[in-house]
Symmetry: C2
Subunit: 346 residues, 2 copies
C-alpha cells in the first residue's frame, strides 16, 4: 500500500530482508532475533498485522490471481482471455490486479500470497528487481511468471522471444527498401525495453546498417507517450523512413502523429508495432505487428499453474513462445486511401 507502512519499509527499518518480513508477518517459522526485529519495526511504523494471515495456512480458496502490468494494454487482455476459461473450467475464480508495473505493488501482491486469499498467481512484471526474486523464492503459493526471470528462479516461466521478433520486423523493413529505420522504445530498465533495444541494434549490425543514436527514441509503453516520442523523433530526424515501435500502443501513437504531420503511411514512413493486439488489425491503416504470442503465453501460463495446483511437484519449467510477423497496410499493404478516393492518390 502506498501510504501506510509496507513490508519494504519494515524491512528497511528492521535491517532484514523483505522475505524475512513476509515470513514473520505470515506467521511462518523464523529465527527469534529476526522475528523480534520485524515485530518491533512493524510496531514502530504502525503496521497492523492482517489477522487473517495465521488462520489461512494450507487452506484452499478456489481463487487464482493474475497481476497485469497495464490493464489498458490489449496484450494483457489477450492473455486474460486465455487464462480465464482454463482456470474457470478447473473450478477457479480469477481475480485480477493492475499494478501499473509499480514494483512495490507487485511485491505487495507476492507478499499477500501468504494471506492465502488465492491459491496461486500468474504475474507479468515489466521489471524484475532483487525484491521480486526474493519474494518469488519465498512465495507461499505457486507462481507463474509471464516474462523473463533469471535462470534458477524457482518458478515456472513463460517467455516471449522479442529479440527474434524485432529481427523479423527489421528484416521486413529492410527488404522493403527502408534504410533509415528508427526504434521507438519503452524504458530501457524494463525487461522488454532492454531486450527490444538490444535486438534492434543487433538486427541493424547484421544487415550492415550503421547504428545511429539519433534514430533511437525512448518513451513509454503507452499511446500518448508513443506519440510524444515520435513527434520528437520526427523533429530531430525528418528523413526517417521506418519506425520500429516496441509495442502496438506506441505504434498507434506514431500513426496519430504521422497523420497530423501529413506523412503518408507507408509511402513516406512505414510503421511496425509489437504484440499484434486486436488494435493492430482494427487501426487505420491496419498495423503490421510482431506477434509475441500473448494468447498462447496466457494459455501456457494457466496450464502450468493448474499443473502445480494439482500437486505437480517438479522442476520449474521455462517455456518460450515463438514470435510471428503479421504484415498489414502500415508497411506493405495497399495504399491506405478509402475506397471512394483511390483515384486521387497522391
Amino acid at each position: 500500500m502506498a501510504d501506510g507502512p509496507t513490508i519494504n519499509t519494515i524491512a528497511e527499518r528492521a535491517g532484514v530482508s523483505i522475505a524475512s518480513v513476509s515470513r514473520v508477518l505470515n506467521g511462518l517459522p523464523t529465527r527469534q532475533e529476526t522475528e523480534r526485529k520485524v515485530l518491533k519495526a512493524a510496531e514502530e511504523l504502525g503496521y497492523v498485522r492482517n489477522a487473517v494471515a495465521r488462520s489461512l495456512k494450507s487452506r484452499r480458496t478456489d481463487q487464482v490471481a493474475f497481476a497485469m502490468a497495464d490493464v489498458g494494454n490489449p496484450a494483457y487482455l489477450a492473455m486474460l482471455r486465455q487464462i480465464q476459461p482454463v482456470l474457470k473450467a478447473a473450478g477457479y475464480r480469477l481475480v485480477l490486479h493492475s499494478t501499473d508495473a509499480v514494483a512495490a505493488d507487485e511485491i505487495d501482491v507476492l507478499h499477500s500470497l501468504g494471506e492465502r486469499y488465492v491459491d496461486g498467481l500468474i504475474m507479468s512484471p515489466l521489471r524484475v528487481t532483487d525484491a521480486h526474486l526474493e519474494m518469488l523464492a519465498a512465495a507461499r503459493a505457486p507462481v507463474v511468471i509471464i516474462g523473463s526471470v533469471p535462470e534458477g528462479t524457482p518458478v515456472d516461466n513463460v517467455r516471449a522471444d522479442s529479440r527474434t521478433g524485432v529481427r523479423l520486423a527489421v528484416d521486413h523493413l529492410y527488404a522493403l527498401g527502408r534504410r533509415r529505420i528508427a526504434m521507438v522504445n519503452g524504458p530501457l530498465d524494463t525487461v522488454p525495453g532492454a531486450a527490444r533495444g538490444a535486438a534492434y541494434r543487433e538486427a541493424l549490425e547484421d544487415l550492415g546498417l550503421p547504428y545511429d543514436d539519433d534514430l533511437v527514441q525512448i518513451g513509454d509503453f503507452y499511446r500518448a507517450e508513443g506519440a510524444r516520442a515520435v513527434a520528437e523523433l520526427l523533429a530531430r530526424v525528418p528523413d526517417v523512413d521506418a519506425l520500429m515501435c516496441a509495442n502496438d500502443l506506441i505504434a498507434l501513437g506514431a500513426l496519430d502523429v504521422l497523420r497530423a504531420a501529413g506523412r503518408r503511411v507507408p509511402d513516406d514512413v512505414a510503421v511496425v508495432g509489437m504484440d499484434d493486439t486486436d488494435l493492430a488489425a482494427a487501426s487505420w491503416p491496419s498495423l503490421t505487428s510482431v506477434s509475441l504470442g500473448s494468447a498462447e503465453r496466457g494459455k501456457v501460463a494457466a496450464e502450468l499453474l493448474l499443473d502445480r495446483l494439482r500437486g505437480g511437484d517438479r522442476e520449474p519449467r521455462v517455456v518460450t513462445v515463438a514470435p510471428r510477423l503479421a504484415v498489414r497496410a502500415s508497411t506493405a499493404g495497399p495504399a491506405y486511401e478509402p475506397a471512394d478516393r483511390k483515384e486521387g492518390g497522391a
Copy 2:
C-alpha cells in the same frame, strides 16, 4: 464456477432461495429445515464447502474488489483509474473481476463476499436479475453498484443518465440536418440497452421524426458486433445519414464498416458513440461521443464504499452523474482527409 455445482444449482435442487444457500454455506444462522435441505443438496451435488468461510467472519482483509462487465471496454478502465487511487490512498489493495456480464459469475462474486476475501465490492452489472437483488439484500460486506438498481435496494448506487445522454446526441444530429438517424444498440435485456433504446424513441418523437423499426439494429456492446450490426443496417437502409451508437466500441465498429464501404464520415453518415472513452478522441476520424461520466462515477463509487468501510451507517444513497456531449470530427468536425490530400477531396 461454470462446471461444478454453484449456489444456483444447489438452490434449485434444495428448493430454497439463493440467498439462503449463501447464508448456510457461509455459516450464518438459518432455519434448521433450510439448513438441512441446503446441506443435503450440496452433498448430492458434490459441493466442497470452502473451509476458509467460517474462519473469516468479521475480519479485515484490506482488499476491495471491483467487478467489471468487460475489462476490454475502456469505460470500465476509466472507472478503474479513479477507483484504484482512492482506495489505495486509504490502504486498500484492489482486486478486479472480469465477469463478461455473465449473471452467474456476478452472483458468485457476491456470494464470495461471505468468504471475506475482500472488505467491500464495487460492481457494474449490465443486467440486474432477481438473483442479483436477493444477493445484494443479503450481502456480507458493503457493496456499491455502478448502474441502476430498483428503488429500495439496500446498497449505494451510482447511476449514469443515458436517457438524457441519448437525447443530447439525437438533438445534435438533428441540428446538423440529419433526418434518417439510426440507432445501433446492445441487447435490450440489459439495463443500458433498454434505457438507450427507449431514450432514442422518445428523442425522435419530441423532434417530430417518425420512429421506424428499420432504423433500429440490435447487436452487442463490442466492436466486432457493432461492425456486424452496422453492415446489416446499411444493407437494409442505404439512405441512413446518422448513426446513434449505444457505446464507443459499437461506434468504432461502425467507422470500420463505413470506411470499407466507401461512405464518408461525417459527409455521408454522421456517427455518435457513447461513454466518451479514450478511444473516441484517438480514433480517426475522432468520434463525437456522449460522456456518461465514467471517471466521475468510479470516483463517487470508491468514495461511497470508503465511507461504508469506515463505519458509515446510513441510508443507501443514489448518486446520478450528468451526461455531456463531446463533439468531434465524426459529426461536425473538419473533413476527415489527411492533411496531404485535402485538395483531392471527393
